[in-house]
């Protein structure tokens, strides 16, 4: 039974699917978004799980959200408000720890307590990284280069990138080559001596990956920290008022304003393919078939192709590539409702030091050991945590005087030694491990807990459709980036199934609340007259 026809149907109302929908609707296309969950947003969602306490359930900060998307979709007008984080705090058990501030002088004073030399080098490092970040942006704001193509346009794009690369200053050229191949720790070792500084800095290299801080290929993610363009300031991270669900809501509102229709609690069972071209979708439950000129996947690629399309519609090479596609989730999330603010013993008080992200990353070896445990199939006994208190930025997140704590937890490998399906059995103990870890830096925290939501990678898969719990829809490793994301030859949103397009984190330029894949996909489709 047919229940309507659209120019484009977007399957999955994560922030990328919504972004694609908004761009197409803005260009006058009739667009329908189908989201399985009762609420849009996917991994960028805010929900109330304990009365009065709102959790930014999965993602919790905004860093790479493309400013041009914010402008194009007028997200500020649709309610998006970004509050820059004030600090990056690394508590220690035996002292005040290290806090990095927006004010370079204050940061230098902090670092000086660990190393005079590092304090001097730190600003220089920031400057160099800023330059490299500018070069890297050329990659995330354009479609992926195609080294296997002989099309003049692709050759010109490659040539242009090559020239830009060689036009970098001498020392930046070296840094650029190092940062794409080194481990975060090896890279930082070339600049800094203090473990207390290198540890929290190296963390950004491992977030969301099943790699350690000493694994090659983790250095380049350090750049993300220097790409921040929050509100025109070069602050790296921001909190969205209302949690990351507010980002999705703003995009959804913009899409609706341009005429897009969004249906929630509408899981799609199948993407219909006839004679090699996508013609529509079949809804789960009702079995209703909706037809469209193009179908756009806002889901992870393996799920899209192997579950919703079916292998028989794919060239054999692609099925093999997709089965190999590395998801291997490595992180979990714990959201806690607190009766009162839990102070950090090394630096007490509710001062500016907690008005940012708080990293439990006391040393490089600590992070490295956390990874070692995960490698062999257990969650870290002492994990790396990235904590924020959303209620400090936005009091509406919790009742007066009370707080919410958001803890990103790594490592929590999807592939446990006794299998991913054993996660429900381990979930509670995993949550306790996180509390134990927090308690070491903030004694008494445990007694303030009113409610706790523990999301293992297994839960992220079951609940949010994040296959294998991978928060980025696929490991951001060199072999799965740029022209290889998600598979060699299929990195430009188009797929071997005609009229089926990819527009989420498993496409170039990858995961994070960035909105780039959704926007670039929609722009390519419009440019190519595909819709």
């Amino acid at each position: 039974m047919s229940a309507g026809h659209w120019d484009a149907i977007v399957v999955g109302g994560g922030h990328n699917g919504l972004t694609a929908a908004a761009y197409l609707a803005r260009a006058g296309r009739r667009v329908l978004v189908l989201e399985a969950r009762p609420r849009v947003g996917g991994a960028a969602v805010t929900e109330e799980h304990h009365p009065g306490f709102r959790y930014t359930v999965c993602s919790y900060v905004v860093s790479l959200l493309r400013p041009w998307v914010v402008r194009d979709l007028q997200l500020a007008r649709h309610g998006l408000q970004l509050i820059p984080l004030e600090a990056s705090f690394t508590p220690h058990r035996d002292g005040p720890g290290l806090c990095r501030w927006p004010d370079p002088h204050a940061t230098r004073e902090e670092i000086r307590r660990f190393s005079k030399r590092d304090a001097e080098v730190y600003p220089e490092f920031g400057q160099a990284m800023g330059h490299l970040a500018r070069f890297a942006k050329a990659f995330i704001d354009d479609q992926a280069p195609a080294p296997d193509s002989l099309h003049p346009r692709d050759l010109i794009q490659l040539g242009r990138l090559g020239r830009r690369f060689l036009a970098l200053e001498e020392h930046l050229l070296d840094l650029q080559m190092q940062i794409t191949t080194m481990s975060a720790v090896d890279f930082l070792d070339r600049w800094f001596e203090s473990d207390a500084l290198k540890a929290p800095m190296s963390c950004s290299g491992i977030i969301g990956t099943m790699l350690g801080v000493r694994s090659p290929g983790t250095a380049y993610v350090l750049l993300h920290h220097y790409m921040g363009e929050i509100d025109g300031s070069s602050r790296a991270w921001a909190f969205a008022r209302g949690g990351n669900g507010a980002v999705s809501e703003a995009i959804a509102s913009s899409a609706r304003a341009h005429g897009a229709e969004i249906r929630t609690s509408a899981p799609v069972e199948r993407i219909v393919v006839q004679n090699g071209r996508a013609t529509g979708v079949v809804l789960a439950g009702s079995g209703d078939e909706l037809t469209a000129n193009v179908v756009i996947s806002g889901m992870e690629p393996r799920r899209t192709f192997l579950q919703l399309v079916g292998e028989e519609e794919l060239p054999p090479g692609l099925s093999a590539d997709l089965r190999r596609y590395k998801l291997r989730g490595s992180s979990g999330k714990v959201n806690i409702a607190l009766d009162a603010f839990p102070e950090f013993s090394g630096r007490p008080g509710i001062g500016p030091h907690v008005m940012g992200d708080i990293a439990i990353a006391p040393s490089v070896d600590y992070l490295s050991r956390a990874y070692d445990e995960a490698k062999y199939g257990t969650y870290s006994r002492r994990p790396y945590l990235n904590v924020v208190f959303p209620s400090l930025f936005d009091p509406s997140m919790a009742p007066p005087g009370k707080h919410v704590l958001s803890a990103f937890v790594q490592y929590a490998p999807y592939h446990l030694a006794d299998g991913p399906e054993s996660w429900p059995k381990h979930r509670e103990a995993f949550g306790e491990t996180v509390l134990d870890t927090l308690e070491e830096y903030s004694p008494g925290l445990r007694d303030k807990v009113l409610h706790m939501q523990v999301l293992s990678p297994w839960d992220l898969e079951q609940e949010f459709g994040l296959t294998e719990g991978n928060i980025f829809h696929g490991e951001l490793s060199l072999d799965q980036l740029l022209f290889q994301r998600p598979a060699p030859g299929w990195a430009r949103f188009r797929t071997p199934v005609d009229n089926l397009w990819l527009a989420a984190s498993g496409a170039h330029p990858g995961g994070g609340v960035m909105a780039a894949p959704g926007a670039l996909a929609a722009l390519s489709m419009l440019e190519q007259g595909a819709v």
Binding site: L173, D174, T181, D186, S215, P216, R324, Y376, Q484, P488
Partner: protein, 487 residues
């Protein structure tokens, strides 16, 4: 005395450079602080009558040793490396073989093999705005000519971890552990780490043949060629200083006497350049920074064994034996190194030289060298005599597990920890003077600028194993550096 070139380090690279230069009419002096030439490849009589032909187990040769230096007429021979026994499995020493447990790996490599071989064995292209882009473009075209399919497969598999790469090719069990060990040698990484596959690919395509007679066999022929070309070789000397004149590096002080020269080559560890040889005020930052950031932290201890009976498994003597039978064992050994420790069960790689070269041991006796992977430089720097002996015992016991009866036949053993190797002049106790990871390879070995062998000091050249292609093509760096100087 006045020379055209003074080469510090009678390593294969230094000797290859000397022959190249002398044949162009240069007056060349090669010096080495050790008593015998060869550096890490020198023959070592570690027990009376028992000689190890160098410290290295893999001896890939630069093709130019034959086609350009014609060392064939100075006794150099190349042959297929011996088969490797690991657990219940034996696989070819030629890691591109399309037969046996590595067949899938060998089969797909057939397509990009020539391309990879040329990258692995020739000078890296210069990467700089003012340099000619042609060498780099030529490599890019050669890559492109492989066809989109092979190109994509190579670019996708290249950055993989060895675990993923081998799993994809369905190479499993002991054979997987064995090739992974080859791929990881020289790095501190484990098979689970990404970007560990390039190490294997480069080694695989250069492992089809090796120097007969080990490193010492190569050194003998190089010394013979050097003498024939009129090179002066002095060993057992001490180098005090490299003098930089107003125009270029123009002197080397050796045993208290200044040797005037037009060029200076560093063919051993680059470290003493900064630490001892150059006037600190004469060191430009473009030389200092890359060498200071250079990682060379050894993680292989070497145990030399004098045996009264051959190393044998199931009654069959084996030329090469490895003990790690799973990737997890390798990964765990690297974990120990990461924390600057010593692995409880270091994966072993043993070579029995005397099988093909009986003259290395008294009649009926044998020489085996064992590489124990997973022994960090940092730990061994504070080793006591007892620690060293205990490590030797552990290695013998572990080897005895794989080759029962071995322990009983050990007449003598010598243990060389990374700290000992460091004392012998290997930078960081590292067999290649620097870790072999992608960021320290090819166009970045030892840095982008220095990869072209010349340095910011005119007349000063680098050509040790800390430059490409030496780790994959012995002698290659020496020849390329000499060529760069001749230009």
């Amino acid at each position: 005395m006045s020379w055209d070139a003074v080469i510090i380090g009678a390593s294969p690279e230094g000797l290859a450079a000397s022959v190249t230069l002398a044949r162009e009419g240069f007056k060349v002096l090669v010096v080495d602080e050790a008593a015998t030439p060869g550096g890490a490849h020198a023959a070592d009589e570690f027990h009376p009558g028992f000689t190890a032909p160098g410290l290295h187990h893999d001896l890939p040769l630069s093709p130019h040793l034959f086609d350009y230096l014609d060392l064939g007429s100075h006794g150099l021979e190349a042959a297929a490396p011996p088969a490797i026994r690991v657990g219940e499995v034996t696989h070819a020493g030629d890691l591109t073989s399309s037969e046996g447990p590595l067949s899938t790996h060998g089969a797909w490599l057939a397509r990009p093999r020539k391309f990879l071989h040329s990258v692995a064995t020739s000078a890296p292209p210069p990467i700089a705005a003012e340099a000619s882009a042609w060498p780099a473009l030529a490599k890019a075209f050669a890559l492109r000519r492989l066809g989109a399919g092979t190109l994509n497969t190579l670019l996708r598999r290249g950055p993989l971890s060895l675990r993923d790469y081998l799993e994809e090719l369905e190479v499993r069990g002991p054979a997987a552990a064995s090739v992974a060990l080859t791929g990881l040698a020289g790095s501190r990484l484990g098979p689970f780490d990404p970007i560990t596959t390039p190490g294997l690919l480069f080694r695989a395509v250069t492992a089809a043949s090796e120097a007969v007679g080990g490193g010492a066999g190569l050194v003998d022929s190089l010394v013979s060629a050097a003498e024939a070309a009129g090179v002066t070789l002095r060993t057992g000397v001490s180098v005090q200083r490299v003098r930089v004149g107003p125009l270029h590096a123009d002197g080397v002080e050796i045993d208290g006497a200044m040797q005037e020269t037009r060029t200076v080559f560093v063919a051993g560890a680059p470290e003493p350049l900064l630490a001892r040889w150059l006037d600190p005020l004469a060191i430009p930052p473009e030389l200092e920074q890359p060498l200071e950031g250079w990682r060379a932290r050894g993680d292989i201890a070497i145990v030399q064994l004098a045996l009264s009976a051959p190393l044998a498994v199931d009654g069959e003597p084996v030329a090469r034996l490895r003990t790690a039978t799973s990737l997890v064992q390798l990964e765990r050994a690297r974990d120990a190194v990461k924390y600057r420790g010593v692995s409880e069960a270091p994966p072993l790689d043993a070579r029995q030289w005397s099988l093909s070269r009986p003259e290395l041991a008294p009649e009926g006796h044998h020489v085996v060298t064992v590489h124990a992977h997973g022994v960090s430089l940092e730990a061994t720097r504070s080793f006591s005599e007892e620690d060293r002996a205990a490590l030797g015992e552990r290695v013998v016991a572990l080897l005895d597990d794989a080759a029962p009866g071995l322990a009983k036949s050990v007449l003598a053993q010598a243990v060389l920890t990374p700290a000992d190797l460091e004392a012998r002049g290997l930078q960081g106790g590292h067999l290649w003077h620097g870790e072999i990871t992608l960021d320290q390879s090819w166009v970045m070995r030892p840095s982008r600028r220095l990869s072209q062998y010349s340095t910011p000091i005119p007349g000063l050249f680098l050509c040790s194993a800390a430059t490409h292609p030496s780790p994959f093509a012995l002698g290659g760096s020496g020849i390329e550096a000499a060529e760069a100087a001749l230009e």
